[in-house]
C-alpha cells in the first residue's frame, strides 16, 4: 500500500488543480482522505464534488494574503466564523467585497486584515456607525483603507456580471449622484438600441467567495433559505468558493424558497454551527439584536475593541 502526501482542491473557474494541503492518498481504495479528519471520503476520483473540510484548513488553503475575498450574506447568514478564522490566521492586504460590511468587516478592518473595501452600505443596521470602519476611513487606523463604493444595486450588478462571465453589467443608476465620478468601477455607456445613457459597472470576480448556509449533504450540495441576498451570485462570481454550514445532513429535503448550490459549483464546504452569530440562520437561531447594539460600545474605541477581539476571537476555538 502506498500513501502520497497530497490533496487536490479544485479552483472552480480556472478548472485547474493545485497541491495545497497534506493528506493521505490511498491507491488501493482510490479515494482521498484528509489527514487528521478521520476517514471521511473527500472526493471521488474524477468527480467535481466539494470536499467537506475543517474551516481552519479551508481558509488556510483557499485564501492568500492580498486576495480579493467576498463575504456575503444580506443581514441573514453572514459568514462570521469564516471571518474570525481569517483574523486568527492573520491574513493581510485583503480586498473585502460585501454589500453591507456589517460587524464582520468592522472586525476584519480593525484587526488590520483589510487594505481595500468594496461595499455599498457601511453601517451597523438600526444601531448606527461601524466604528472600526470609520476609524480606518477617517484616521487611517490601524492602516489606511481604500474604498470602492457603490449603491446596493450597483454592487449587486457587479456580482451578476461576475457570475455571468461578462466584463460588466448595465443598469440605470448613479447619474446625478456623487458616486458617479469617484468610483472607478462605474462608467457611462450608451444603449446601442435606444441611445439611452446608462451606467456600466465592472464585474467583480473574487479570488474567494465565502457564504454561510443552513445545510449541506455529505456530497457537498448546499441548501440555504430565508433571506438569500446575493449569495448565489457571489459563489458563482468567485474563482473559488467556500460555504460554511450549520449542519451536514444525509438528505436535503426541500424548503420553501430555498436555493440549492450543487456540489460541483462549490470548492469546499466547512461545518460551522452558529457560524453566523450574531447574524442568524433561519430555522436554527435568531438574530442577536442585543449583540448588534452592544457592538456599538465594544467597537467605539480601539482598546475595548482589541480586548474584545483578543478574548472572543483570537483566544476562541475555531
Amino acid at each position: 500500500m502506498m500513501f502520497l502526501k497530497i490533496i487536490l482542491l479544485r479552483f472552480t473557474q480556472r478548472d485547474t488543480y493545485i497541491v495545497c494541503l497534506t493528506a493521505h492518498f490511498s491507491i488501493m481504495s482510490d479515494r482521498w482522505f484528509l489527514q487528521g479528519f478521520g476517514v471521511r471520503p473527500l472526493r471521488q476520483r474524477g468527480s467535481h464534488l466539494a470536499p467537506i473540510i475543517p474551516l481552519s484548513e479551508a481558509i488556510g488553503s483557499l485564501l492568500n494574503d492580498g486576495d480579493t475575498v467576498a463575504l456575503e450574506g444580506f443581514t441573514h447568514l453572514i459568514p462570521m466564523s469564516a471571518g474570525h478564522e481569517i483574523i486568527r490566521q492573520h491574513k493581510t492586504d485583503l480586498t473585502v467585497v460585501r454589500l453591507t460590511p456589517d460587524l464582520i468587516s468592522d472586525q476584519l478592518i480593525g484587526m488590520g486584515c483589510v487594505s481595500k473595501l468594496v461595499f455599498s452600505w457601511g453601517g451597523n443596521p438600526g444601531v448606527g456607525s461601524l466604528h472600526r470602519f470609520r476609524d480606518a476611513v477617517e484616521h487611517g487606523w490601524p492602516q489606511p483603507l481604500e474604498i470602492d463604493e457603490h449603491s446596493h444595486a450597483g454592487l449587486t450588478n457587479r456580482f451578476i456580471a461576475g457570475a455571468s462571465g461578462l466584463p460588466f453589467a448595465v443598469m440605470r443608476g448613479y447619474r446625478g449622484t456623487g458616486l458617479d465620478g469617484v468610483t472607478p468601477t462605474v462608467l457611462p455607456i450608451t444603449c446601442p438600441f435606444t441611445g439611452e445613457e446608462l451606467r456600466a459597472v465592472a464585474a467583480v470576480n473574487p479570488d474567494l467567495s465565502v457564504i454561510h448556509a443552513q445545510r449541506a449533504d455529505r456530497k457537498g450540495n448546499v441548501q440555504l433559505w430565508g433571506i438569500v441576498g446575493i449569495q448565489k451570485e457571489a459563489v458563482l462570481a468567485g474563482r473559488r468558493s467556500l460555504v460554511t454550514v450549520e449542519e451536514i445532513v444525509d438528505e436535503l429535503d426541500p424548503r420553501p424558497g430555498h436555493v440549492v448550490l450543487p456540489s460541483w459549483l462549490v470548492t469546499a464546504v466547512a461545518l460551522s454551527p452558529r457560524g453566523s452569530h450574531p447574524s442568524y440562520a433561519a430555522g436554527y437561531y435568531q438574530r442577536d439584536n442585543d449583540f448588534y447594539i452592544a457592538w456599538d460600545a465594544i467597537s467605539r474605541n480601539r482598546e475595548t475593541f482589541l480586548a474584545w477581539m483578543s478574548a472572543n476571537v483570537l483566544g476562541g476555538a475555531s
Binding site: F74, T75, H76, L99, T100, F119, S120, W121, G122, G123, P125, G126, V127, S129, L130, F133, R134, V137, E138, E149, S151, H152, A153, T156, N157, F159, I160, M171, R172, G173, Y174, R175, G176, T177, G178, L179, V182, E196, E197, L198, G226, I227, V228, G229, I230, E233, G257, V259, P278, Y280, A282, Y285, Q286, R287, D288, N289, D290, F291, Y292, I293
Partner: protein, 258 residues
C-alpha cells in the same frame, strides 16, 4: 381639531408620515423613521399596506418594529422573499414600486439627499454608512416621501455629497439623469411638511406642526426657506393615532434574540 393629549414632535412626525400612506400601496421602506411610520400606518388606516424591505422581503407584516431590514420577523411574515438581484433589477428598476419611503442625514433645497459623508469624500470629517438602496429607490419609485428631523445640520445650504437625487439643481434634471420616477413629493420633519414647488422644484414649507413656531423652522433651515403663502397647520394627532404609536414603541424594537 383639538388633540385630546400632549404629544412629542417625533410622534407628530411619525403620525404625519403614516397618514401619507394608503392601503394597498406598494411601499419600499427604509429602516428607522420610515419603517416606524409605515408600521404605524398598518396599525391605523392601511392594514394592507404592502411593505417591501431591501432584504427582499415582500409584503412583510412584522409584529414589532424591526431593528434591521433583514430581521427574522420580516422574513417569516413576508408574502415571499426574493433575492437582492431580483428586488433591485426586476422590481425597483422598472418602476413597479408606488412609494419610496426614505430617511437621510441631510437634505438640500432641491430634496437631494446625503447619507455618505460630512466633509469631503476623500477626507471625511464623519464617514456615514453610504448609499445602500437609496439612490435607486429615489430614482425609480413612482413617488418618494422623505423623513428626517429638521436642524441647521440636517438642512444645510449645500450638501457635501449627493447620495440620492431629488431634483438635482432644479427642473429638468431628473429627466436629464434618466430617473423614471416623479421624485420626492413630500418631506416630513419634526417641525412640519415641505413640498416641492411644481415649477421650480424647490422645497416649500407648507404645513407647520401644532405647537411649533415658524421662527424655529426658519432657524432650523440652512437656506433661505420659502414658506407657503397659505401655510397650514398639521392636524394634531388623534387619540387613536397616539395610542397606536405608543403601543408600537412600547412593544420595543427588539424581537429578543436567541
Amino acid at each position: 381639531m383639538e388633540s385630546a393629549e400632549m404629544f412629542t414632535s417625533d410622534e407628530m412626525m411619525s403620525i404625519a408620515a403614516a397618514r401619507q400612506l394608503s392601503n394597498n400601496e406598494v411601499c419600499f421602506i427604509g429602516i428607522g423613521l420610515p419603517s416606524k411610520a409605515a408600521n404605524l400606518a398598518r396599525r391605523l388606516h392601511a392594514p394592507d399596506l404592502i411593505m417591501i424591505y431591501e432584504s427582499g422581503t415582500l409584503g412583510a407584516k412584522p409584529s414589532r418594529l424591526p431593528l434591521s431590514i433583514g430581521d427574522g420577523d420580516l422574513a417569516e411574515t413576508a408574502d415571499t422573499i426574493v433575492s437582492v438581484p431580483e428586488i433591485f433589477n426586476y422590481l425597483l428598476q422598472p418602476g413597479r414600486i408606488d412609494v419610496g419611503f426614505l430617511g437621510a442625514a441631510q437634505i438640500d433645497r432641491f430634496a437631494n439627499l446625503n447619507s455618505t459623508v460630512i466633509g469631503t469624500y476623500r477626507n471625511p470629517v464623519v464617514r456615514l454608512p453610504g448609499a445602500g438602496g437609496a439612490p435607486e429607490i429615489a430614482g425609480a419609485c413612482k413617488k418618494v416621501i422623505v423623513m428626517l428631523r429638521q436642524s441647521p445640520k440636517s438642512f444645510p445650504k449645500e450638501l457635501p455629497f449627493i447620495t440620492s437625487v431629488g431634483f438635482g439643481s432644479g427642473p429638468g434634471d431628473r429627466e436629464k439623469f434618466g430617473l423614471k420616477g416623479a421624485g420626492p413629493v413630500m418631506v416630513i420633519t419634526d417641525l412640519g411638511i415641505l413640498e416641492p414647488d411644481p415649477k421650480t422644484k424647490e422645497l416649500v414649507f407648507t404645513h407647520l406642526h401644532p405647537n411649533i413656531e415658524i421662527e424655529k423652522v426658519i432657524e432650523s433651515t440652512g437656506w433661505n426657506l420659502r414658506i407657503a403663502d397659505q401655510l397650514e397647520v398639521t392636524e394634531p394627532p388623534t387619540k387613536e393615532e397616539l395610542e397606536a404609536i405608543r403601543s408600537l414603541v412600547a412593544a420595543g424594537e427588539l424581537p429578543l434574540a436567541r
